[in-house]
């Protein structure tokens, strides 16, 4: 009886390693099943060692599977992977045009230009794709009605505050620079991002990430609401942030493509 209590205690501890939602839904049933199977095993006088080893091993595999295949990690990888693929497919026609039309000019393939294009489209897709997918899923009546645990990023209030802070962090210096309160030196190789002069390309990239992160964080409660069957307009301020930032990035990308179109079409000295 003593050993049963020890195994029961250890099994209870093992189950706590499941993802939160899974644990809340099934931990009690799993413990009950463990109890029943243990009793059954004792009654049939079979080896307890074999039963315990197998049960603990099998449950550990289940925990890893839940985390990797069906938990947040896999969803994030899928979300990033799908966005990366879609943006790659969107820039592919321009890359093909560039290769076909400019092969006679003995110029290297403009990897930097296409990386920039890909990254812009990737960020827009990353922000909008989950909203679009969940809206579509909802319309097809396969919504999940399970209760979802709120985190700092999924809680509408905290995500809005974080998102607003990220936007302010970039818009305030940008506005100050625009009205001339932050002096800028135009000599040398200046790097400007959103009108702010920065000393290195790395800092420029970090600055560039701020509005992307703001839109991504603002989109999280919208996605969560759609997943639980709610309306797209349940968080209007979040939606405005997402739409405005996505629009700015899309418009920037389109104007960049239009600007570079002569190069894609094979015009020499197009830059």
């Amino acid at each position: 009886m003593q050993s049963k209590n020890v195994f029961y205690f250890l099994y209870k501890k093992l189950i706590t390693l499941y993802p939160k939602r899974f644990k809340e839904q099934f931990s009690e049933s799993m413990l009950q099943t463990f109890n029943d199977l243990y009793k059954e095993n004792q009654n049939t006088n079979q080896s307890s060692f074999k039963f315990i080893t197998w049960t603990f091993f099998e449950t550990t595999i289940g925990i890893i599977q839940e985390h990797l295949l069906y938990g947040g990690i896999m969803q994030t990888i899928k979300r990033f992977g799908l966005s990366a693929l879609i943006s790659f497919l969107l820039i592919l026609p321009f890359a093909v045009m560039e290769i076909v039309n400019r092969r006679n000019y003995n110029e290297d393939f403009p990897f930097a230009l296409f990386s920039f294009l890909w990254f812009n489209l990737f960020t827009v897709t990353l922000i909008l794709l989950p909203i679009a997918l969940n809206k579509w899923i909802k319309q097809n009546n396969t919504k999940s009605n399970l209760e979802q645990k709120q985190t700092l990023l999924t809680n509408p209030k905290s995500s809005l505050i974080i998102s607003a802070m990220l936007i302010l962090f970039i818009t305030v210096p940008s506005l100050l620079s625009f009205i001339g309160l932050i002096p800028s030196e135009t000599s040398g190789e200046s790097i400007f991002v959103f009108g702010i002069q920065v000393p290195s390309i790395f800092i420029a990239f970090v600055f560039y990430l701020f509005p992307i992160m703001a839109a991504y964080i603002a989109s999280t409660p919208i996605v969560r609401t759609l997943q639980s069957g709610g309306s797209l307009f349940a968080h209007p301020i979040h939606l405005v942030i997402v739409v405005v930032i996505s629009f700015l990035f899309t418009a920037g990308t389109i104007s960049f493509i239009i600007d570079q179109l002569p190069c894609f079409m094979g015009v020499q000295f197009c830059d």
Binding site: Q25, E58, T59, T60, G62, E66
Partner: protein, 74 residues
């Protein structure tokens, strides 16, 4: 099948709407109030039918090609 596999599969079936929790109690004498019963849904029945149809097709292909151990083609 252990509890890890069982409840993992159950979760996915619940998420997909193939099964749902049931209020029906089988035998009150055997019942434990903590016990949760599940029942197949209409969507689950359709999925089961489709899966059985798939198995039937596989078996018919295996029969056609004489893949059963005692019917190997010579």
């Amino acid at each position: 099948m252990g509890a890890g596999t069982l409840y993992g599969s159950l979760k996915r079936m619940l998420d997909s709407g193939l099964v749902k929790e049931s209020d029906k109690r089988v035998d009150p004498k055997m019942d434990d109030e903590r016990r949760i019963y599940y029942q197949i849904t209409a969507k689950g029945k359709k999925a089961l039918e489709a899966e059985l149809e798939r198995y039937k097709h596989i078996v018919s292909v295996a029969k056609e090609r004489k893949l059963f151990p005692n019917t190997y083609a010579i």
